[in-house]
């Protein structure tokens, strides 16, 4: 049974500070500095969890966050990682994934039905569609991890951006010496290590001190390099925040991960990895038991053994899988200390005691061929079994970075083979095991990384790999009754992997996906290597022929809060946003902007308000904020030439002081944007684009201008300038009272543009006709927009002015038959189909889309945008409802509204050429399948002769 020893030299605890906490409802005490796992171990809690599938009791395995045995629910937070989470006063801790508590988990019965849960069980069970729902409900309940608290408060976590010349991942001997070497070469270094207590993992104290004394090294303790992204961008996750670190070079000193031996009941509480138990002992003063058996297959086992012996932990025996231990002083010292070694023996079965933890180990002789003599087992009484049989390279992040590995038979380990530019590896990851060699390899890698980042000359040292083999080639012992676990996260036994291979999933990638080996929270850190060995044996090939699977980011699971963004959705507002709100604006999104859809008036419905806004424009005056339109200026001798090339119309012959509609096409002749182009001077044009298209149109014009090298410059003034459309029969009269510009028809004809002042503010005034009434578009500096808006509203109010929103504008323009790019046209609509050839100057020498239009002209349109009308009593179809002719789709409605002005429903529809003739009856299929009758009519529907553009029309 695990228990706390007296104060150990170099421990991380503050024993004067006692912390109270509870586990599964019982109260315990730990010390400041304890992790959850160490505190529970010290308190003698035998097991902390139930396993994922069979609900077997599980205790500490790696004490390094390399397994999911110590995932805990802490104060309502699920899946807290007990090995690496510091204990705090008052923590309420419980196990995860139990039914009725850890000790009495009702689901533990599953352990006895293991035979009914074969590998690939989900694929097999879920095969039946009929039973799918049943299985799904059952397994969602049975399997899984901690419980998510849906009522948890939102926590914002900061994201930081870091920059360094050399990033060193891992602060063991090689990482520390790499960091120091890089810093000495002049590089700014970031040193990341996941352990809570950066003790150097055996590095000389002088090296640790030198690293801490260096001003050029920034430390990131208790931080995981969780993911590698392009161009040396590494996600550094700490408990509280994420740092996005951009490095010029990266040294991987990520080391190796201790691997378990696989034998029956190797998952019993009390069976641990020796490396973890050694840390538990040295840093936290926790002994693994009172009678410890080592399972050994490398030198590290003997070194650990001596350490345990020195600290007074009784050792029952060392079970050595190899025929003989290394020829090394540590081995001799063990023998001298009276520790019995059983060479060529293997663990056959761990025996479970009454408390659910290990009580004894059955060992059996192992012959040279690796076969076990099950008839000659011996029983070793013990309460802890510590495994030191091998290592796996912590190459996950290295593989993510694009590195490749190869398997070295002599070391039984994957080592880096190809290093991408700016990537360096050092230490045990490299297969370098002796401490002096690790330090030298670190210096080499640090120097080379610094040189890559531009500091100093690279070291040309060549460091030899270890001559002794630190890992057993096959630490896996078969047992007829199984329960010899390979993957502790996913409860996978040897036979599960063999069965998967037998069923045809016999490559490492397929085996992983089918059996789920390595797909648990620890992502195969303790299981992938053994799984590969089992697969290699099954196929009769070497491990090197199989290759590693690349695990995805994150390297360790990372709390979602560290990854979550800020819910940041920027929204643009025009300068008169507050004025809209004061009028009761109901908002809608338009591109990045918010715009009034309509203005709510108390006592009116939405439809009534929109109707009243339309009515105000037709009968009196209205004002709409069109400041969201893209607004661009082009200056220079070639300004007209640029516009001639990018728009379909002709602008070189546009007179100064006049405007002209602009239609923009892409190379295939499709309409992509439109706007109004005003010529303010011989070499100055000012033009608008659609709201949604402003950024992309401007960017494309910049590209074309750069490509053609014309002598003109573009300026995007969308945000600089505000714009209103002031329209209605009273608009001229009201505006004249506010401006020095002569608005008489002869001085300021339709489609003219003038500069002057409105309400004391410099404006550009354009006489436009989009809504079908006498109207003026007023463009001014954004900073003066409020004054102008207020002056227009104040003057207009006595005449019945209403501001109108996007909805009313859609009705008004539809009554005039104007199409909206992107609503009435789509990504295939050309100007022939949209009846917009009046805006195209085909005789120009060149414009974008011209060549395609020639082809389209010859081919003839495949569809035609036509006006349609429906009787007033007919229910309104929706946009995109289909036009049906002889049971086939023959078009679609693109815009439709009820026009109170015209007392009928009108719309635009994209129709097949056969239907596109005035007077043709068509049928529209609506949501419920009903067919509505409509007729093709001529557009514009309202004021087809444009009489209302005349200044004298009313007055």
């Amino acid at each position: 049974m695990m228990h706390r020893l007296d104060v150990q030299p170099g421990e991380c605890l503050d024993r004067r500070q006692v912390l109270n906490f509870s586990f599964e409802g019982r109260n315990y005490q730990g010390y400041a500095g304890d992790t959850l796992s160490s505190a529970l171990a010290a308190a003698g809690v035998a097991y902390l969890a139930r396993s994922f599938k069979y609900h077997r009791p599980r205790g500490i395995l790696s004490f390094a966050n390399h397994d999911s045995n110590t995932l805990l629910q802490v104060d309502g937070v699920p899946n807290v990682r007990g090995d690496v989470t510091l204990l705090r006063e008052g923590m309420r801790v419980s196990a995860i994934n139990t039914f009725g508590g850890l000790a009495h988990d009702k689901a533990r019965v599953l352990d006895r039905f293991a035979r009914l849960l074969p590998v690939g069980f989900y694929y097999k069970a879920f095969h039946s569609k009929r039973l799918f729902a049943v299985w799904e409900r059952m397994f969602r309940a049975l399997t899984g991890l901690g419980e998510v608290n849906l009522g948890a408060a939102r926590e914002a976590t900061p994201k930081r951006y870091g920059f360094c010349d050399v990033l060193v991942i891992g602060a063991g001997p090689s990482g520390l010496s790499a960091a120091l070497a890089a810093a000495e070469n002049g590089a700014q270094v970031a040193l990341v290590d996941e352990s809570l207590t950066p003790a150097g993992n055996g590095a000389p104290a002088a090296l640790l001190d030198a690293v801490h004394a260096s001003n050029a090294i920034t430390h990131f303790p208790a931080t995981v390099a969780a993911g590698y992204y392009a161009d040396h961008w590494v996600a550094l996750a700490s408990a509280t925040h994420m740092t996005k670190m951009r490095a010029k070079a990266v040294v991987f000193a990520t080391g190796v991960i201790a691997q378990p031996a696989v034998f029956r009941n190797n998952d019993l509480p009390g069976v641990m990895l020796a490396a973890g138990a050694a840390r538990l002992l040295a840093h936290y003063g926790v002994a693994p038991g009172r009678r410890v058996v080592f399972i050994a297959a490398n030198l590290e086992a003997y070194l650990h053994c001596l350490e345990f012996h020195a600290r007074g932990v009784p050792i029952a025996a060392i079970v050595e899988l190899r025929a003989a231990p290394d020829d090394h002083a540590a081995v001799t010292a063990c023998a001298a200390a009276g520790i019995s070694v059983l060479p060529a023996h293997a663990p056959y079965e761990a025996i479970c005691g009454p408390d659910g933890a290990v009580a004894a180990l059955l060992v059996a002789p192992l012959n040279v061929a690796g076969q076990i003599d099950a008839g000659a087992t011996r029983r070793l009484e013990c309460d802890a079994i510590l495994m030191s049989v091998g290592w796996a390279a912590a190459a996950q992040l290295f593989l993510q970075a694009g590195g490749s590995t190869r398997f070295l038979d002599a070391l039984q380990q994957f080592v880096p083979q190809e290093l991408p530019s700016g990537i360096f590896a050092a230490g045990r990851l490299n297969g370098v095991y002796d401490i002096d060699a690790r330090l030298a390899d670190g210096r080499r890698a640090g120097s080379q990384a610094a040189a890559h980042a531009g500091f100093g000359a690279p070291s040309s040292a060549v460091i030899a790999r270890s001559k002794r083999c630190p890992s057993h080639p096959f630490p896996i012992i078969d047992h007829p009754r199984g329960k010899n676990f390979v993957d502790f996260d996913e409860d996978l036994q040897v036979k599960d992997l063999e069965n998967a291979a037998q069923e045809g999933f016999d490559s490492s990638e397929l085996l992983k996906r089918y059996s789920t080996v390595g797909m648990g929270p620890s992502q195969g850190k303790h299981s992938n290597m053994n799984a590969l060995r089992i697969l290699a044996r099954y196929r009769g090939i070497g491990v090197e022929a199989l290759g590693l699977t690349t695990s995805r980011p994150m390297y360790h699971p990372v709390p979602m809060k560290l990854l979550a963004g800020r819910s940041f959705y920027p929204e643009r507002r025009t300068p008169v946003d507050a004025q809209h709100a004061a009028w009761g604006a109901v908002w809608m999104a338009a591109g990045n902007w918010r715009r009034p859809e309509y203005y709510a008036v108390s006592g009116e419905s939405r439809a009534e308000s929109i109707d009243a806004e339309v009515h105000a424009v037709r009968g009196a005056v209205g004002i709409i904020d069109v400041g969201t339109l893209g607004k661009i200026e082009v200056h220079g001798p070639d300004a007209a030439e640029l516009l001639d090339r990018v728009y379909a119309g002709r602008y070189s012959d546009l007179k100064v002081g006049m405007t002209r509609y602009g239609l923009m096409l892409d190379e295939s002749g499709v309409i992509i944007d439109d706007g109004v182009i005003a010529r303010l001077g011989e070499q100055l044009f000012y033009f608008t684009t659609t709201t949604g298209g402003s950024a992309t149109v401007f960017r494309e014009l910049l590209r074309l201008n750069a490509l053609w090298g014309l002598d003109c410059a573009l300026m995007n003034v969308t945000g600089h300038r505000a714009a209103f459309n002031f329209a209605g029969p009273f608009s001229r009269e009201i505006l004249q009272g506010l401006t020095d510009i002569d608005l008489r028809d002869e001085a300021f004809p339709y489609l003219a543009v003038r500069s002057g002042k409105v309400a004391g503010t410099a404006v550009r005034l354009m006489r436009v006709g989009f809504v079908g009434e006498l109207g003026y578009e007023i463009h001014m500096a954004a900073g003066n927009a409020v004054e102008v808006w207020q002056a227009l509203c104040a003057s207009g109010k006595p005449k019945g002015l209403r501001p109108f929103g996007v909805e009313a504008q859609r009705v008004l323009r539809l009554e005039k038959g104007h199409f909206i790019v992107g609503q009435d046209t789509d990504g295939l609509t050309d100007p022939y189909e949209a009846n917009a050839m009046w805006a195209v100057a085909m005789k120009k020498p060149f414009f974008v889309g011209q060549r395609s239009l020639r082809i389209l002209q010859a081919r003839g349109p495949r569809q035609k945008l036509m006006g349609i009308e429906l009787a007033a009593a007919t229910p309104l179809p929706k946009e995109c409802h289909l036009v049906i002719e002889q049971d086939a789709i023959a078009g679609r409605v693109t815009s439709v509204t009820h026009s109170r002005t015209l007392n009928r429903s009108i719309g635009l529809a994209m129709l097949s050429p056969a239907l596109a003739e005035i007077g043709r009856d068509i049928r529209i299929r609506v949501d419920d399948g009903a067919m509505l009758a409509a007729r093709v009519v001529a557009a514009p529907f309202y004021d087809p002769k444009n009489l209302r553009q005349r200044v004298d029309f009313r007055s």
Binding site: A230, S668, R699, L702, R703, L707, W708, G709, S852, I855
Partner: protein, 98 residues
């Protein structure tokens, strides 16, 4: 996130840039056949390899040409837009890796 070296602004995160498509030479619209023109407008080569591409540094509105090896996702070289006008060095047919 990748870093792109803009000829005007230096190394910047790629989120500051907009991709403008592969740089392709238009056939002469006045002399080419309809089929040639259609092929130019609608067909793109998806084969991996070295390609000239348009990229724009959005904040400064600066367009430039990039020679990018799409197999390795590596920017081999960048050029100002004038280089496109004057004619970039033709790449080997099939877009072999640079």
């Amino acid at each position: 996130m990748k870093v792109m070296v803009c000829p005007l602004n230096g190394p910047r995160p790629v989120s500051e840039f907009a991709y403008g498509g592969e740089i392709r030479t238009s056939p002469n619209p006045d002399t080419c056949s309809d089929a040639e023109w259609s092929a130019y407008v609608f067909n793109r080569s998806g084969s991996p390899g070295a390609k000239y591409e348009w990229w724009c540094h959005i904040a400064s509105g600066f367009w430039f040409a990039v020679l990018r090896d799409t197999t390795r996702d590596v920017v081999v070289a960048t050029y100002p837009a004038e280089a496109v006008r004057c004619g970039l060095t033709p790449l080997p047919a099939g877009g072999a890796s640079a």
